[in-house]
Symmetry: C2
Subunit: 125 residues, 2 copies
Amino acid sequence: MELVQIYQCLCDVTRLRLLNLLLQGPLCVCHFQTILREPQVKISKHLGYLKARGLVEAKREGNWMIYQLPVKSSPELKANLACLQDCVNERPIFKSDLTRLRKLDLSCSPLNADGQPVPRGSRCC
Amino acid sequence: MELVQIYQCLCDVTRLRLLNLLLQGPLCVCHFQTILREPQVKISKHLGYLKARGLVEAKREGNWMIYQLPVKSSPELKANLACLQDCVNERPIFKSDLTRLRKLDLSCSPLNADGQPVPRGSRCC
DNA sequence: GATTTATATTCCTTAACGGGAATTTATTTG
DNA sequence: CAAATAAATTCCCGTTAAGGAATATAAATC
C-alpha cells in the first residue's frame, strides 16, 4: 500500500474520528452514527472510503455491518495509527467520542459479546 | 494547528519528498528541483502549500529562498514527521532523493556552510 | 538601468472530494 | 409477501486540489 494513501485517509476529521473509535475495537455503523452524531450517509461514505483503501475491513453480521481495523496491517499503517492515537488523546472531540463509546450498549457489536452469539434481530440503536 | 491540516500536507508524494529532504536540514528551492527532477512551478507550489499551513518556514538568502522545518514544531508535527521518516526509509524514491542530496554541492544552502557566510551571487544550481 | 538568476503567482483545465436528499439493497421478522 | 431496520448507492452541487504554460516579482550583477 502506498504511504500517501494512508495519509489521504487521515486528512478528514470524520475519518479520524472513525479510526479513533476503531482503535478500541470493532463497531457497527449505527454505533458510529450514535457516537459521532452525523448523518448516516456521511458515516457510510467515509467508511466506504476507508475500506476501499484497506484501512478498515467489514463483515456482515445479520442486519449489521461490523467494521474493524485490518487483521493484518502493514508496519506503516500500524505506525501511523499509533501516532494518531497519541496525537488525538488530548483533543476534546476524540475524547468525548470515546466517552460516548463507553456508555453505549454494544449489543450488536462483537466488542463486548464475550463469546456468546449475537442475538439476531434485536434492535441495535 | 489542526491535526487534519498536518495530514493534508502529507497526502501528496511530492510534499512527502520535500519533507523527507528537509528532515536532513534546510534547503533552497533549486536544490529541490535538482533532486526531485520536477518542474519549478510544481516544487514552488507545494512548498507554498506547506508554508501556508505552517509545516515549513522560509527565509530569503540573497537570490535564494531557504526552506526549513519550523524551529518550534508542535508535538503532533514532531510525532508525524518522526513517523514519516520511519515509514519512508525503505522506499526507493525517498532513498534515492537522499542519495542525490548527499551528492550535491550545497553552496547556497546553510546546510554545509559551516559558519562562513554564503558568497552572494554565486550560481546555485 | 538592462540582464540574469531564482522563485512566486496567475490563469486555465481536469479530477477528486465532501455533503445532503432521495432511492436502493440486504436482511430479519411477522 | 409486507413491513421494519441497517447500510450502501446514486445524483447533484460547491469546493479544493494538482498540474502546466506563461507571466510577474525580487535580488544581484554588469
